[in-house]
């Protein structure tokens, strides 16, 4: 026991410090009234059983709370995450960017979310596989592509296992062009594919001549044009600056990228003018309000990957969905995925579609939420609150709630509607389990059948079960406090 707190005469002998004495109460509400009668400021918390209501898990969570080794690990992880400056440097074929895709002896496809087998894939992802097999010339019809996949010749691995992210189905095949985002200070890189635009897209599981034609055009016309424009520009594009500005202009950079796409196009426009097919490239890009999404995702992957791998860190470094399962990765827990069944998305549907048509939550795009964007920056994007049938006030509350489960605020990403505070960044597994507040994700909705495509957009969340499983995998680090040496 240390000496009595309080160095001044006024507080000598006092155990609770000077007035006003602050007390937090959990449990029976009537008990909160008792100390109030003596002038204490009592906050009766809106308590609920932590850790999904399992007492043993709640105790483990408590052991990790305020633990010096965990706190230090999270400080390190957050510092790494915030230090990343994502710069778009190149456009290049996937086989050149990702070594495993360059191996011509393999027929490897990358997909969104945690690992899963072809036999388990949902409709939209199966369509993506078929489209990719056609694009690569591995099959000459959708039926042949399915037979090929059934035969076991095709291999599947998550994008996330190759420093890449893909929206919705997230299928990346060797010949698809990828954008490369680099942190100049460390040389670390991350990748995403190029956005196909709205409507019928392979990423949403649409198939057909139009979809295939656009994919080929993206490889043969769009990618070379972007490459040439980047080359002419002479330097990469700082995506952090674009994102910071877009948050001031009504984007949350996951489900609304209108401002960011415009800003990015503005950065390139002058140099794109000089490239071949400039008019059709510019028209394609100016029609696509979503084309920044993949940049936002690659930037987020770059930053969260930098934060990954700090022992004992409880920072969530990935949240991804494959349409069947969703999973998180945690900074201090290695390469493991902590999964739960994919959730349904609550949202608005295009005419003629409804919740019964919707595929469960899918895509790597929720990486943006782990980077403080999307649902975490919903306050920046009042225009999309209609997706949830919600109000602007609810959007503000969502960003405030996300701050309660985040370790930091982003210094550059500011939320004007919340008085210019930084976007909450760095999901803490402990805070999610302690409060029961789950990360909110803004996302598109894909039809559950292959070949149809996007049918709506809305909000969903990362299930508590993922965090609960991650907690089970966390060891309580030995520390001076835990091992019992001396008093502080």
């Amino acid at each position: 026991m240390t000496a009595l707190p309080g160095l001044s005469d006024e507080t000598a002998g006092l155990l609770l410090g000077g007035a006003p004495v602050r007390i937090a109460a959990v449990g029976v509400p009537e008990f909160a009234e008792v100390p109030r009668t003596a002038g204490a400021e009592v906050t009766a918390l809106d308590w609920r059983p932590p850790a999904a209501g399992e007492p043993e898990a709640a105790w483990r969570l408590a052991e990790l709370t305020g633990h010096p080794a965990v706190e230090a690990a999270n400080r390190e992880a957050v510092a790494r995450l915030l230090a990343v400056r994502p710069v778009w440097t190149r456009v290049l074929p996937a086989r050149e960017a990702i070594a495993a895709l360059g191996d011509r002896s393999r027929r490897l496809l990358l997909h969104a979310g945690p690992p899963l087998a072809w036999s388990a894939m949902c409709g939209p992802m199966r369509a993506g596989v078929i489209g990719a097999a056609l694009l690569e010339g591995w099959a000459d019809s959708p039926e042949a592509a399915e037979r090929l996949a059934d035969s076991g010749v095709l291999e599947f691995e998550p994008c996330h296992h190759h420093e890449a992210v893909g929206p919705m189905g997230g299928i990346i095949s060797p010949s698809m062009p990828l954008i490369e985002v680099e942190d100049p200070a460390t040389g670390r890189r991350a990748y995403s594919n190029l956005n196909e635009g709205a409507g019928r897209c392979l990423r949403y599981g649409a198939l057909g001549a139009d979809v295939m034609e656009r994919l080929r055009w993206m490889g043969t016309v769009l990618a070379p044009a972007l490459s040439a424009a980047l080359g002419a520009r002479g330097e990469g594009v700082d995506l952090r600056a674009v994102t910071a500005q877009a948050l001031q202009m009504g984007d949350e950079c996951h489900s609304r990228n209108t401002a960011a796409s415009t800003l990015l196009l503005r950065e390139l426009a002058a140099d794109l003018c000089e490239t071949a097919h400039a008019r059709e490239v510019l028209r394609f890009l100016s029609d696509n309000h979503y084309w920044f999404l993949n940049f936002s995702m690659a930037a987020a992957k770059l930053a969260t990957s930098a934060a990954h791998g700090v022992p004992h860190s409880t920072l969530v470094t990935a949240f991804a969905r494959n349409g069947v399962e969703v999973g998180i990765r945690v900074g201090g827990l290695g390469d493991a995925w902590f999964t739960a069944p994919a959730t349904q998305v609550r949202g608005l549907y295009f005419a003629g579609y409804g919740p019964e048509d919707a595929n469960p939550d899918i895509g790597d795009s929720a990486i943006t939420e782990t980077y403080g964007l999307g649902g975490f920056s919903l306050a920046a994007a009042p225009a999309i609150t209609g997706f949830v049938g919600g109000t602007v006030e609810e959007a503000l509350r969502t960003s405030r709630d996300m701050a309660r489960i985040s370790l930091a605020r982003h210094e550059a990403y500011r939320l004007p509607a919340l008085g210019g505070v930084g976007a909450p960044v760095g999901i803490d597994v402990r805070a999610v389990l302690d409060t029961g507040i789950v990360p909110v994700v803004t996302t598109g909705i894909s039809h559950r059948e292959p070949g149809i495509g996007q049918i709506g957009a809305g909000l969903t969340h990362a299930p508590l079960e993922c965090f609960r499983k991650a907690l089970d995998a966390m060891a309580v680090p030995a520390s001076e406090i835990a091992s019992g040496t001396g008093s502080p």
Binding site: M1, V21, E30, F31, A32, V34, P50, G419, G484
Partner: protein
């Protein structure tokens, strides 16, 4: 954030213009203008501008003669700070820029949601008051301690190993873990749990028994003595497993506090080795001039003059404390003479567990239960000492100090039973207790004419300042025909004396602290 070397262009004499460049830093123009306004108002600064270095903005700066050669390297994604002023003011102005940019536009929204977790509580929170279901309570306490808060844990049914862990953690952190199963405390004059309104004063109390602490502190209050601190430890603190961690920490605190002139310890009998350790620590305090009164409810007679005064009952603990401080203890209670009752057995129906313990010391063979909860109440054919605050009677309903229903039902059955010789009742006042605890008991007494029922001995634990008004509660009981005793100890001694003499049977071993009682 990359900051270029500042470049100072001489103007005339001591006035200079400085440009400072932050590469790849975006800030909204409104935020920049606000920062510029603040910089411009600094002493010695004549002009300031913060802009994104677009060509248009650079032209504006050039027109305002705020541009230096530095800006030649600036691009539209760079933030340019331009300040003109006295040379010695420029460094301060530039140093202020980061702070200004880090400020939110306006104060955080006032309608912050209610925190759910202790980890979200205001960092200035000094204490966590925990009354969650027992399986979660220790986890909440551990989180509170990790956040630098003291913990008051009312919850019971907390695993023993977790109790030990939180108490060890509190000890190392220099904090108090009061409980689990801690019924009362008054810390810095602030009542916690079931607590009476006590006058402030010079006595420090430490107790592993909630109603015991309430009884002793109320008796001290009646003597004009006040409480410096009243630290509850939880019922198991002095068990061999827990080893008195909180009791010893509390002793340390009160010993070091010059405002505390005497320490009173109240507990059911500790494990012998723990008692030894606690008494040794108490003796150290006493040797250094701070008297200690220890009451372990074991009936040991008060031994005045020793370093540590040992008192066997709650009543004697209070008198010994008053005596050690030079005060005069109240005259001993002499009960009025009453006719021998027709029944044989004593029925003590307590809301306070400590009183049941104290009573069993006098009537060790008394039964402790009345059959399964919810079933018909069956009184045993022997003495009965009931702790109606026990889990068996509180499952699914509030403590009898709050909800009198269960006790009133038992009282009705006891009054109607011709075998009942005398009934004993406690009425505990203070915060947390019901608004009029005597009412339901008095109503039961009035149902039966006094001549047709056994005598009822009652005592009120409370102070004049308690919200229920002690005098009014006593009057209500007296009007209903109850006999009033001044203390729990007097009540049970009086009632036991009323019982017709019976052949003493072999005493059963009383359970020590931490046992099943």
């Amino acid at each position: 954030m990359e900051q270029a070397t500042d470049d100072i262009a001489p103007d005339d004499g001591t006035v200079r213009t400085v440009n400072s460049l932050r590469r790849d830093t975006y800030a909204d123009s409104v935020a920049l203008m606000r920062a510029a306004r603040t910089l411009g108002a600094l002493p010695g600064v004549s002009a300031a501008s913060l802009v994104m270095a677009t060509e248009a903005n650079l032209r504006l700066l050039a027109d305002a003669r705020l541009l230096t050669a530095e800006a030649e390297r600036a691009g539209p994604n760079d933030l340019l700070v331009a300040v003109r002023g006295h040379a010695d003011a420029l460094a301060d102005a530039l140093a202020a820029v980061d702070g200004l940019l880090a400020q939110p536009d306006s104060p955080a929204a006032p309608d912050a949601p209610t925190a759910r977790a202790l980890t979200e509580a205001d960092p200035g929170t000094a204490l966590a008051l925990i009354s969650t279901p027992g399986p979660y309570a220790a986890a909440e306490a551990l989180k509170a301690l990790r956040r630098g808060m003291h913990a008051f844990v009312f919850s019971d049914n907390v695993p023993l190993d977790q109790e030990i862990r939180i108490k060890q953690e509190a000890h190392r952190a220099g904090l108090l873990a009061m409980g689990p199963d801690c019924g009362t405390a008054v810390i810095d004059g602030i009542p916690l749990g079931f607590a009476n309104v006590l006058r402030p004063g010079r006595i420090g109390l430490i107790g592993a028994s909630g109603t015991g602490l309430q009884q002793v502190s109320c008796l001290l209050d009646a003597h004009g003595e006040g409480v410096r601190q009243m630290i509850g430890t939880g019922g198991r603190d002095l068990s061999a497993d827990v080893g008195g961690i909180t009791t010893l920490d509390a002793l340390e605190l009160l010993d070091a506090d010059p405002g505390c002139e005497l320490i009173v310890l109240v507990s059911k009998p500790p494990a012998p080795e723990v008692a030894e350790q606690v008494l040794a620590r108490a003796a150290r305090a006493a040797r250094a001039g701070k008297p200690v009164v220890a009451c372990f409810l074991d009936g040991a007679r008060s031994v005045p003059g020793g370093r540590v005064t040992v008192a066997g009952t709650l009543r004697d603990a209070a008198s010994a404390a008053v005596g050690r401080l030079g005060g005069k203890s109240r005259e001993g209670f002499t009960p009025p003479h009453l006719p021998v009752p027709s029944g044989r057995w004593l029925r003590a129906l307590y809301a306070g567990g400590t009183f049941a313990y104290e009573a069993r010391r006098i009537l060790p063979d008394a039964a402790t239960g009345t059959g399964p909860a919810g079933a018909q109440i069956r009184l045993p054919d022997c003495h009965l000492i009931l702790d109606l605050g026990d889990d068996a009677y509180t499952a699914g309903r509030p403590h009898p100090m709050i909800d009198p229903t269960v006790r009133a039902a038992h009282l009705r059955v006891a009054l109607a039973d011709p075998r009942t010789a005398v009934v004993v009742l406690d009425v505990v006042l203070g915060h947390g207790a019901g608004p009029d605890p005597a009412a339901a008991l008095a109503a039961e007494l009035r149902r039966v004419p006094a001549a047709e029922r056994p005598p009822v001995v009652a005592f009120v634990v409370g102070t004049d300042a308690d919200p229920q008004d002690r005098a009014a509660q006593e009057a209500r009981l007296r009007e209903a025909g109850a006999l009033l005793a001044p203390t729990s100890t007097d009540a049970i001694e009086w009632a036991a004396a009323l019982v017709p003499a019976h052949r003493p049977e072999r005493s059963q071993e009383l359970t020590a602290a931490g046992g099943a009682v």
